[in-house]
């Protein structure tokens, strides 16, 4: 697998807090759009289609039979 699943985020608590605070004051629809924008930005940064496919597969795991 090309996808890196080892911990890499420098300041996990700081990052998580930033992620949560980013949604402050947004409606649910706005939050969804914000998440989509973030995913598209990150996906473009990654670029590698094999990695992106891995990400999509794992993200969907709990919802697949």
């Amino acid at each position: 697998m090309k996808l890196n699943l080892e911990p890499k985020i420098e300041d996990p608590d700081g990052f998580y807090n930033q992620l949560i605070r980013l949604h402050d004051g947004l409606s649910e629809a706005q939050s969804l759009e914000l998440q989509s924008r973030m995913i598209l930005l990150l996906a473009n940064h990654i670029g590698d289609s094999e990695v992106l496919s891995e990400v999509m597969r794992i993200a969907r795991e709990p919802f697949t039979e």
């Binding site: 080892e6 890499k8 608590d13 990052f15 998580y16 807090n17 649910e28 939050s31």
Partner: protein, 549 residues
């Protein structure tokens, strides 16, 4: 049988019969963990203390139960550490569950070579009881007055006049410094009209301390979204005397009185521990919490410590543990100011360092709360995504936050530090508390921190004999107005003229020490300066910086 609380007798004191109010150097309001730790610390520095306590007994209910390594190290210096360790339940591992699934396990102190473990669990009343007994041993310096309630504070430029209520009526006394250690509902804080800034959380938590013989390891267990009870989270912790702390997050709308009904508590207890369990209920309580502090901890001659100054959520055990750090930070500064060996501005560093620490603790405990009790759909979705990924995928585990457990604050930016000029490896830095390490002394095995007795100390590491010039300069430092006590550590068995040896090499590793490495430590064991080579001028200059001289 539930714990029996001792009663302490009110005694009349000479101040009550004085025609004019008697003046004392230090009065501490509140004989909780923080007030007691400060009183003992000051007494060991031969500063007389009046300790006022409104009640006639110790903390009712176990309340704070997790005492961190740093607290034990501070208490060891105060003469309490081993006793706490012997009575307490030592633990360092935690397990986190999501629903019924175990998500991951953590170890808070994965390395060996420390006198004290990452944590012990111990009911707050034991810590208070042992500290009271220690205070009684130091009665030459500590006057502990029970049933003595602060009723008025008149704060002047050079001192404070207090009115103290007793069963015999009120009396007045004066002090140079009043230390507010009177807890979350601090009378001192209200009396000075100081406002807390921060957040109040709506969620309610139910505590049940139960007594039962149970064959379970001393591991902190935390459930997100448990299935065995109707609660958003649950926590299980072992305490001494076969007591277990159960904590359930019951939501903002729960009816506290209803939840505290014995049959309702028992339903939750049995959900967690099994239907066959027949425990004694020791203590039941429902609480909400705040994350907040006052902006300044020093107001003229009134100094705030512990919960009187700052409050945090219980996740992370950052309340009592940070309060004890307030006490150790303040004790030596107050002593030097009272002895006129340092200017009053030294107390500004107490304010700067401990407000910084309070902000750090509030940040950590608020972030834990945001994870444990997420507000809104998006926060909950992120939280559950982290937990569901974490079981299988390691990358998500550092994001799980079931409480970031108390570690001592590093005063990186402190005005008392002298910045490094040499380059260093390892985790230590100016502002950090000194690291422990096993040492060998002529009397046998010892610990580095046990060698530090509440004075400025100079660690000097050497491979061979201590040079004569260094010896002479160390002698002059030990006779300084603010004495600096040398601790000479031999890096090799053949080192000469040293008091202790680092035969396992762990001190050398943790301090990045070679021949001639020198560390200047504050009386509270925090590093204020360090050098790769010994220089008397540098040491004197760093000592002046560390004492605002």
């Amino acid at each position: 049988m539930p714990y029996e609380y001792p009663k302490f007798e009110y005694r009349r004191n000479a101040d009550q019969d004085a025609k004019v109010p008697v003046r004392h150097p230090v009065v501490i309001a509140g004989a909780g963990p923080v007030g007691l730790a400060l009183a003992v610390d000051l007494a060991l520095k031969q500063v007389p203390v009046i300790l006022l306590e409104a009640q006639d007994t110790i903390s009712v209910g176990s309340r704070a139960i997790c005492f961190a390594k740093r607290t034990l190290e501070v208490c060891e210096r105060l003469g309490l550490g081993r006793r706490l360790l012997e009575k307490g339940v030592t633990w360092k591992k935690g397990v986190v569950f999501f629903g019924d699934d175990e998500v991951f396990e953590f170890d808070l102190l994965p390395e060996e070579g420390h006198q004290f473990p990452a944590f012990i669990n111990l009911q707050q009343y034991y810590l208070e009881l042992y500290a009271i007994e220690r205070a009684q041993e130091l009665r030459e310096f500590i006057d502990l007055r029970w049933c003595s309630e602060l009723q008025a504070i008149d704060s002047g430029e050079n001192g404070v006049r207090l009115t103290v209520g007793t069963p015999d009526g009120a009396y007045q006394l004066d002090c140079d410094w009043l230390i507010a250690a009177d807890g979350a509902r601090s009378f001192c804080r209200k009396s000075l009209g100081l406002e807390f800034e921060g957040r109040t959380f709506d969620d309610q938590f139910l505590i049940a301390d139960i007594k039962t013989k149970a064959d379970m390891p001393p591991v902190r267990r935390f459930w997100f979204a448990p299935t065995f009870t109707d609660a958003d989270s649950a926590l299980l912790h072992m305490q001494p005397d076969d007591v277990w702390r159960l904590d359930f997050q019951i939501g903002p709308e729960a009816d506290a009185a209803e939840e505290m009904q014995i049959e309702n508590v028992m339903r939750r207890v049995r959900g967690m521990l099994g239907n066959e369990i027949e425990p004694d209920l020791e203590w039941i309580s429902v609480y909400r919490f705040q994350s907040r502090c006052i902006r300044n901890f020093v107001h003229g001659r009134v100094i705030f410590t512990g919960d009187a100054a700052h409050q945090v959520s219980p996740f992370g055990a950052r309340g009592a543990n940070s309060g004890i750090q307030d006490a150790e930070n303040l004790a030596w500064k107050l002593q030097l100011v009272l002895k006129e060996l340092a200017p009053e501005s030294l107390l500004d560093s107490y304010n700067a360092e401990r407000t910084y620490a309070a902000e750090e603790n509030i940040r950590h405990s608020t972030q834990s709360t945001d994870f444990i009790a997420p507000k809104g759909v998006i926060s909950l979705a992120y939280r559950n995504a982290v937990l569901s990924l974490a079981k299988q995928y390691k990358f998500a585990r550092p994001l799980i936050n079931s409480g970031r457990l108390s570690t001592p604050t590093i005063h990186r930016e402190s005005m008392l530090n002298t910045a490094d000029v040499d380059s260093w490896s390892g985790k230590l830095m100016p502002g950090a508390p000194a690291a422990d390490a096993p040492l060998q002394s002529p009397e046998g095995e010892s610990w580095l921190l046990s060698q530090l007795k509440g004075e400025f100390t100079l660690l000097y590491f050497t491979e061979d004999a201590v040079p004569e010039l260094v010896e002479a300069e160390l002698r002059s430092l030990s006779k300084n107005l603010v004495p600096v006590k040398p601790l000479l550590i031999g890096l090799k068995p053949e080192s000469q003229g040293v008091s202790v040896f680092d035969l396992q090499g762990l001190a050398a590793l943790r301090y990045d020490a070679r021949n001639g490495t020198t560390y200047l430590l504050r009386p509270d064991q925090h590093i204020c300066a360090r050098w790769k080579t010994f220089s008397l001028d540098e040491i004197r200059s760093a000592l002046n910086t560390a004492t605002c001289n």
